[in-house]
């Protein structure tokens, strides 16, 4: 079925099924999948949430809860069928020959045991090392995964490590017994993009150096493109496309793969039109569609799709399989099957005479105090936002991007007066914003939050949620009219009026985010502050929401302040982009200009760290990889705040924080070495 030489096969999974028996039915979370992993190979399993990718990984390790029923023709690991071995044999394999790295570094380590204790555990269990040997090996391992001063770190506890450092420890645990296979389940999803790059590089480097095979579970196509040799694309518990990574990215053959690839905004392409979207939602696995599971969402679906398609060779390549009856059509017309309409961004020139929002020298300081000695407290100031100035014009989208802790959310909250700014001036529509006047402009300034799960009151129906602001602001007084208005709003955001009777938990994540947008729209605002509105959503749903936001802007002329950490998403939606680091603006400019010609070393590094979903481009990129982690905001570096991580730092940089200076048309960067770096 695939082209790995028999003697090089490390893991051979044949017809794996995983079922969960629940009270109200059986869910088949993994449905008859087969795949192989070669020795030293890097396999990616990619798919959206709920497609069964994590369950696949956990079932290989037999780490699923008791209600899971695993069956397979065979799961051969190095020739031995591990689906038949006893639990005690399985335990001997775990951590010894197959190890696993999990998604959440913050919760995957035991908080009450030292790092050293947790690291030596597999060594003592499997290799029967003495305490002393194990300690020596542990120090070596910590050094290998890039943890400074490993001797000191051994006696520390997980809470004394940052997220990135904890994930390094997890990798060290995984490597401890020199396994043949590491299964990494979304190992970098919870981390910032620069840290993600560090961790993935480390994993790749170590696996190729030690000849360890890796199964990487991820939803991020960029990560797949950058690292994987082979790919399994999963949809609704089945593998829909399988094979060589280059081949699949070059000639995707399953309509789902094509849709997935086309719905991701691309950082390397100029800002274009709408994103392709896959309509609808993944099926409920309690009652999946008959035949091809992608049929209800597939633009090519026909009568044949009532049968279950099997994986078949594509393009005459043995190492490329897809399960679809229309692969010829799909791969030929791949670029057009999802393009419903080609309307572009609002082409209307943005009128730059009267800014809608002016932020001038905004400061948001938080004073914190913490216990430092016996009975003494030390207090410090965190400058979450430090002298940030920008304007937003009507109908314009300004993107605010940066890693966690850079102050981007604080900017949004200060504008909304959810936190009271400690300095600077803000003007909205020529009204000076302060705690008194903010009530006057509340209606015109709305917000969409990140988490569509917790930002809607679970005890109110969608109708009540949307009705409340209409009542509070006396916008629509007549109950009958209010009903109509709510129906209009729901239709506008792509929901149905009958959904007003539903409660938030009855909607999917994407639908809830649409309710959040409808709630903001009900005020007919001039500006919406979007705080990470799509980061909790799957790729195909994310594209739907981004398109919706763009359509609404074109139609209603709303301005957005779009706060996000995903550079590609920000690039896609924004006219102007601001890059922040430790409370300060590092660079800002028109989107296309900034992305094609980043001037600040931080902007460059940030872009280099974000992988592009194209193996050809990705593997030829010359990258600046940032060292270290975000410094403590309590104790920022002297001079330029970025100096502690910058590759081009000199003594002059540590003297004072550079001012923003012009470096192009409406393009500014805060770095003293702009000219030097441009020629470099």
């Amino acid at each position: 079925m695939s082209n790995i030489d028999d003697k090089n096969v490390l893991l051979d999974v044949k017809n794996l099924n995983v079922e969960f028996k629940l009270k109200n039915g059986t869910v088949r979370a993994v449905d008859n999948i087969s795949f192989q992993v070669g020795k030293g190979e890097f396999l990616a399993i990619v798919g959206e949430s709920g497609c069964g990718k994590s369950v696949t990984a956990l079932s290989l390790m037999r780490l699923l809860p008791r209600i899971a029923d695993i069956s397979a023709d065979h799961i051969k690991f190095d020739g031995v069928d591990i689906s038949k071995v006893t639990e005690s044999e399985m335990r001997k394999l775990r951590g010894r020959r197959i190890s696993m790295i999990f998604q959440e570094p913050m919760t995957s380590l035991n908080p009450v045991l030292t790092i050293g204790d947790q690291l030596t555990e597999p060594l003592l269990t499997h290799l029967e090392m003495s305490e002393k040997e194990a300690n020596a090996r542990t120090i070596e391992l910590l050094g290998m995964v890039g943890i400074p001063e490993p001797e000191k770190r051994l006696t520390q506890y997980p809470h004394q490590f940052s997220g990135g450092m904890r994930q390094r420890v997890m990798i060290a645990i995984g490597l401890a017994c020199e396994p043949d296979l590491i299964i990494a389940d979304e190992p970098t999803t919870a981390l910032d993009v620069t840290i993600q790059a560090q961790i993935l590089e480390l994993l790749k480097d170590i696996s190729s150096r030690l000849g360890v095979a890796v199964i990487m579970i991820t939803h991020n196509l960029g990560v797949v493109a950058a690292y994987a040799d082979r790919v399994n694309v999963m949809y609704a518990a089945r593998i829909v496309e399988q094979g060589d990574a280059n081949q699949i990215f070059e000639k995707p053959s399953h309509p789902y793969t094509i849709g997935l690839l086309r719905s991701v905004p691309r950082m390397d392409k100029p800002r274009g039109g709408r994103l392709a979207t896959i309509d609808g939602l993944p099926p409920n696995l309690m009652s999946p569609p008959v035949g091809c599971r992608f049929k209800p969402r597939c633009p090519l679906a026909g009568d044949a799709c009532d049968n279950v398609p099997v994986l078949e060779t594509q393009h005459g390549k043995e190492d490329h399989l897809a399960a679809c009856f229309f692969t010829d059509k799909a791969s030929k017309d791949g670029s057009t099957i999802y393009l419903a309409e080609t309307s572009t961004h609002s082409s209307a020139e943005i009128n730059k005479e009267n800014p809608l929002l002016v932020v001038d020298g905004l400061e948001q300081y938080f004073s914190v105090s913490f216990r430092s000695g016996w009975l003494s407290n030390t207090s410090g100031t965190v400058k979450a936002v430090d002298g940030v100035s920008f304007e937003v014009y009507p109908g314009q989208t300004v993107g605010l991007v940066g890693e966690s802790g850079c102050g981007k959310t604080s900017v949004g909250r200060a504008i909304l007066h959810l936190n009271k700014a400690t300095g600077g001036k803000m003007q909205f529509n020529d009204v000076d914003l302060n705690s008194n006047s903010v009530a006057l402009v509340r209606q015109d300034m709305q917000v969409i939050f990140q988490d569509p799960f917790s930002s809607l009151n679970p005890r109110m129906t969608i109708g009540e949620i949307l009705e409340e602001p209409l009542k509070v602001h006396n916008i629509v007084l007549d109950p009958q009219e209010r009903e109509e208005k709510i129906s209009d709003l729901l239709l506008k955001v792509g929901l149905y009026p009958y959904m007003r009777e539903r409660y938030p938990h009855e909607l999917s994540g994407g639908q809830r985010q649409r309710v959040g947008i409808a709630r903001a729209l009900s005020m007919e605002p001039k500006l919406i502050i979007c705080d990470e509105p799509v980061s909790a959503l799957d790729v195909s749903v994310q594209a739907q929401i981004i398109n919706l936001l763009e359509d609404l802007q074109r139609e209603l002329g709303i301005a957005y302040l779009f706060i996000a950490h995903d550079l590609a998403v920000v690039k896609h939606i924004s006219h102007k982009v601001i890059v922040m680091y430790l409370g300060k603006i590092m660079e800002f400019g028109e989107g296309d200009d900034l992305y094609s010609n980043p001037r600040h070393p931080y902007t460059r590094a940030l872009m280099d760290a974000a992988p592009i979903p194209d193996p050809q481009i990705e593997r030829n990129r010359v990258k600046i990889v940032l060292k270290g982690e975000l410094p403590s905001p309590l104790n920022p570096p002297k001079g330029c705040v970025f100096s502690s991580r910058c590759n081009f730092v000199t003594d002059a940089c540590r003297a004072e924080m550079p001012q923003l200076q012009e470096c192009g048309n409406e393009h500014q960067a805060a770095c003293i070495k702009l000219d030097e770096l441009e020629n470099a």
């Binding site: 780490l63 190890s99 696993m100 919760t107 035991n110 908080p111 045991l113 030292t114 809470h159 913490f370």
Partner: protein, 318 residues
């Protein structure tokens, strides 16, 4: 750790002072007059003058702030004043009886923990089994049944089976440990049942919670033996909330002692408590409340220190 411990110990001082002040004033609000009760106890009429002179003698006619001053000055020297009824030193009255109550409290706690840990752990590990349901039934019973009633049931059981009760008149622990244990185990059981039930239920739910944590999955993925996964990775984390409950429930235990000592006719501070309330003996009462409160504060100090020993996040809190 050391600095945490010292900070925590120093913090008990203001707590105890606050308790002392509160006890003094709250008790003076309670209506009733000991002198009248005392003098009329033997029957017959007592004249107004007699009551007044008796009050004068006992210092009850002093302005309240003067009484408060004397009381607060006495405290650091261990002087709790004199019992208004027996006119013995309050501290010696308490000292005579506290040993028995202390022993009973310790025995109940030990018994409770010894029962709770296996029950809670088994119940969690065999969740949903018959065993789990039986344990949960037993422990919900422990919360529902008042300790004095259980005490009476135990007495009836002893009468029905052995045919006699443990000998009256307490035997010292050092004189005859076995008889002492035989005497005290029954009251300890009757107050300890609730204690163990609450603890077992807490332990059950925290073990269940801990076993679904990510780090347990990590431990299993390392190929660690299941026994070690549960004991080393699971139990220590599950103990944290359980230890808190043990500390809080100690207050219920002290309350239970008051009644249980009466039921089993043990001459401990619980019984003294009841007597002093009936006689309106303010000085003795405030001495007793203060003693019990101190015990409670100390137990919670131990719990906090234990907590720090178990959880490094507290130990290293800056």
């Amino acid at each position: 750790m050391l600095s945490y411990a010292i900070r925590r110990i120093l913090l008990t001082i203001p707590t105890l002072i606050a308790v002392a002040v509160l006890v003094f004033f709250v008790l003076r609000v309670v209506p009733g007059d000991i002198v009248e009760i005392k003098l009329t106890a033997e029957g017959g009429m007592v004249s107004e003058e007699e009551i007044m002179s008796e009050k004068e003698r006992l210092g009850l006619n002093d302005p309240i702030m003067v009484q408060f001053y004397k009381y607060m000055i006495g405290l650091p020297q261990g002087d709790l004043g004199i019992s208004l009824w027996t006119e013995n030193n309050v501290s010696s009255e308490i000292a005579a009886r506290i040993g028995l109550s202390f022993e009973l409290a310790v025995l109940s706690t030990v018994l409770a923990v010894l029962i709770a840990f296996p029950l809670g752990t088994l119940s969690a590990l065999f969740r949903g089994s018959i065993l789990d349901y039986v344990i949960r039934l037993l422990t919900i019973g422990g919360i529902a049944v008042p300790s004095f009633w259980l005490g009476m049931l135990i007495i009836m059981m002893l009468l029905a089976t052995v045919g006699k009760l443990p000998p009256l008149g307490t035997v010292g622990l050092l004189e005859d440990p076995l008889t002492n244990l035989y005497q005290l185990i029954w009251p300890a059981l009757s107050v300890g049942y609730r204690y163990s039930s609450v603890t077992a239920r807490m332990l059950r739910s925290s073990i269940l919670e801990v076993l679904s944590e990510d780090y347990i999955r990590t431990a299993r993925a390392k190929g660690v033996f299941e026994r070690i996964v549960i004991v080393k990775h699971g139990m220590r984390n599950a103990l944290l909330p359980t230890v808190t409950v043990i500390g809080l429930e100690f207050a219920f235990l002290l309350g239970g002692l008051v009644v249980t000592e009466s039921v089993f006719n043990l001459n401990g501070i619980g019984k003294l408590f009841v007597d002093s309330v009936v006689r309106n003996d303010l000085n003795l009462l405030q001495g007793l409340v203060l003693t019990v409160a101190t015990g409670f504060v100390l137990i919670n100090l131990i719990v906090d220190l234990l907590y720090a020993a178990l959880d490094p996040r507290i130990r290293y809190q800056k």
